[in-house]
């Protein structure tokens, strides 16, 4: 079997804080995950704001270099690739960002940008480039004529996000990293973008890492879920399994605090199994043991040690000491 497309082994990324940044905290703390391109899947990475999910995305995109641990691309350390391998990497792993305005240069026409990208990355001449661009634009329900001569600010948010999906598809990637691609869009447009991502996986065989704080949209397109809390992955597995039978206390709280109109006022009747304390977040990030300890109603002495990933089912792992005794 070939080496997986992306493999992270115990990856951490520290950032400095305080006035001169000498003290450091881990934004990503010991994360291991594998993304294979042989059987493309939609993986979802779910967590609250500040849990390190965007930092993790940047590590996978080779924008940030991990402080410790190894990030591998096709079995090789990402940061020790040759120039041609880096080019290959850029073609294989493409990002879609939260704000499509960030993707495009405001002073350049979208069409010019797309043509240049196609020319330089795919080594095509202008005619071929336009043909290729038309193809990917069609995939997201646009045409080249609709894009021609327009600058990014002349598009609506939903349209521009579709163009940025097309842009990512242009180089025929194997993996799309979509970091909150729909959180700036309205509900009625959101689902369309998610449908395009779904189709990209089904029809073009592209693996997708969908990063979001919104469990409902994650459930809509995802097959696997990684739940992140304060820099660490606390639970991962098949998304239906995790949503129906969450094991980590944090996953449970996250699922129960999701408002759902179908429940109506009943939603308030169930109290969250969480103790409340006002703790400063950085202090939590610095904890050596389980980072959920301040809130967890089930904590024990063992939780002051860092929990290991415990396999509880087929491809279902949870980082909680509660599940270690059952062996």
């Amino acid at each position: 079997m070939d080496a997986p497309l992306i493999e992270l082994i115990d990856v951490s990324k520290y950032f400095g804080y305080g006035i001169i940044g000498l003290t450091r905290f881990p934004a990503v703390d010991g994360v291991s995950l594998t993304i294979s391109s042989e059987k493309p899947e939609v993986l979802t990475l779910v967590g609250e704001s500040g849990c390190g999910k965007s930092t993790l995305a940047k590590i996978i995109l080779r924008i940030l270099r991990p402080t410790s641990g190894i990030a591998k691309y096709m079995g090789k350390n990402m940061w020790k690739l040759s120039r041609s391998e880096v080019k290959r990497f850029i073609r294989d792993v493409q990002p879609i960002f939260q704000d499509p305005m960030d993707t495009f240069n405001l002073f350049e026409s979208v069409e010019g940008y797309l043509i240049n990208a196609a020319k330089s990355l795919l080594k095509l001449d202008r005619e071929e480039a336009i043909e290729k661009i038309s193809q990917v634009l069609e995939f997201v329900g646009l045409t080249f004529d609709k894009v021609r001569g327009k600058r990014p600010q002349e598009f609506s948010g939903g349209e521009l996000q579709r163009v940025s999906i097309a842009r990512a598809l242009l180089v025929q990637p194997k993996l799309l990293i979509a970091d909150e691609p729909v959180s700036m869009l309205d509900a009625s447009l959101r689902i369309n973008i998610l449908n395009f991502l779904r189709r990209a996986k089904e029809e073009l065989g592209i693996a997708i890492l969908y990063i979001t704080h919104d469990l409902a949209t994650a459930n809509y397109i995802g097959e696997k879920i990684f739940v992140m809390y304060r820099g660490s992955i606390v639970e991962h597995g098949d998304i239906e399994k995790v949503i129906n039978e969450p094991l980590h206390p944090y996953t449970k709280v996250l699922l129960e605090s999701l408002p759902d109109y179908r429940k109506g006022k009943e939603w308030f009747k169930k109290q969250l199994p969480q103790t409340l304390r006002s703790v400063v977040e950085v202090r939590e990030m610095l904890l050596k043991g389980c980072k959920y300890i301040y809130y967890c109603p089930f904590k024990s002495q063992q939780c002051y040690e860092k929990p290991i990933m415990i396999e509880v089912g087929k491809e279902h792992e949870v980082a909680c000491w509660m599940y270690s005794k059952k062996e």
């Binding site: 609250e48 509900a187 689902i191 809509y220 969250l272 969480q274």
Partner: protein, 326 residues
């Protein structure tokens, strides 16, 4: 006028004058709010829901202008024609006592250089004639009844988390027991877990003090769990009003239908369809029904004439030609 209505909004028009253009953000809105209810205003960004809230409150600064319509507030004993008041009068007589407004991102409006308690003391001294010592005592008592600890009272705003700051802002808003509280996206910047705790508290306070709460949110699920009645806004108009249960069970307006159908649900992966197109530019809204370019049921008349607000059944109003027999 019936007895249990606290606010009448009648044919209010307002918008933004930007250069030579006029952005028609609130276009002939009629609304009635009742005592002690939680009313939700839903709609996509740019549909005018925040502008409507601002107009009701009366905080109108250029380029925003009210062009017409009346807003009447009724307490048990008094009646105010809010549309006739200017901002100074509103400030003296209405704001904080009768209506409070929690604007979007309100948790960032606290003054970072003074302690939380000083915000309250200042309010007490501005709006009632008590000295500083007494104001301090009242503040501590008041915050304790709301479950905010002494630690919070003495903290500076930057020391608190977003959720805690938002609670402080809500506490400020409720200080003088207002009749009507206008909350604009009070939880949109918070995490879901914090959101749940905050919404729980807001609802509890609303039940205890029985004020009327108007909640603006783009999140339909929040409306579904919190509100008693809901109004759906599209492109500057209210297109449907009804009790929250009914609207979710059986949405009437095609826009409401699309909005609810487009919501992905936990534990269901059925492919869903969103709306095509985008909301119109309000400086140049389409003729007739403003939803017709995106509406799957659009008819000839929809392109020509604006549909009136029709009462389909008791307190169930919709503005759509599909429901009008001619």
């Amino acid at each position: 006028m019936d007895g249990d209505t606290v606010l009448y909004v009648d044919n209010v028009r307002a918008g933004y004058f930007v250069g030579r253009r006029f952005v028609d953000a609130v276009s002939g809105v009629n609304l009635k709010l009742f005592y002690g209810e939680v009313f939700g205003l839903a709609g996509e960004s740019g549909c005018g829901k925040s502008t409507l809230l601002r107009i009701i409150y009366g905080y109108i600064e250029p380029p925003l202008r009210r062009i017409g319509g009346s807003i009447i507030l009724r307490s048990k004993t008094e009646e105010f024609n809010l549309h006739e008041f200017n901002m100074d009068e509103l400030k003296k007589r209405i704001w904080w006592r009768y209506i409070t407004w929690i604007p979007q991102g309100a948790m960032n409006v606290l003054n970072p250089t003074i302690r939380i308690r000083d915000h309250f003391i200042e309010m007490f001294r501005l709006y009632s004639n008590i000295d500083k010592g007494e104001a301090y005592k009242l503040t501590v008592e008041y915050l304790e009844t709301l479950g905010l600890s002494r630690e919070v009272v003495d903290a500076y705003p930057t020391q608190l988390s977003g959720g805690m700051r938002q609670r402080v802002v809500i506490a400020l808003a409720l200080l003088f027991n207002p009749l009507l509280v206008l909350a604009d996206e009070p939880t949109s910047a918070l995490d879901v877990v914090t959101q749940k705790v905050l919404l729980e508290q807001l609802l509890k306070l609303q039940k205890e003090r029985n004020f009327t709460l108007v909640l603006v949110s783009h999140d339909m699920d929040v409306h579904g769990v919190l509100t008693d009645r809901i109004g759906i806004m599209y492109a500057g108009k209210i297109v449907e009003v009804g009790s929250t249960d009914k609207v979710f069970q059986e949405p009437l307006h095609p826009y409401t239908k699309a909005l609810i159908e487009a919501l992905p649900r936990l534990g269901d992966k059925i492919a869903r369809k969103g709306l095509s197109g985008a909301p119109p530019d309000l400086s140049n809204p389409p003729p007739g029904c403003r939803f017709h370019p995106r509406c799957p049921y659009a008819m000839d008349i929809c392109r020509r004439e604006e549909p009136p607000m029709m009462e389909i059944e008791r307190s169930r109003v919709v503005s759509c030609w599909l429901y009008i027999k001619r």
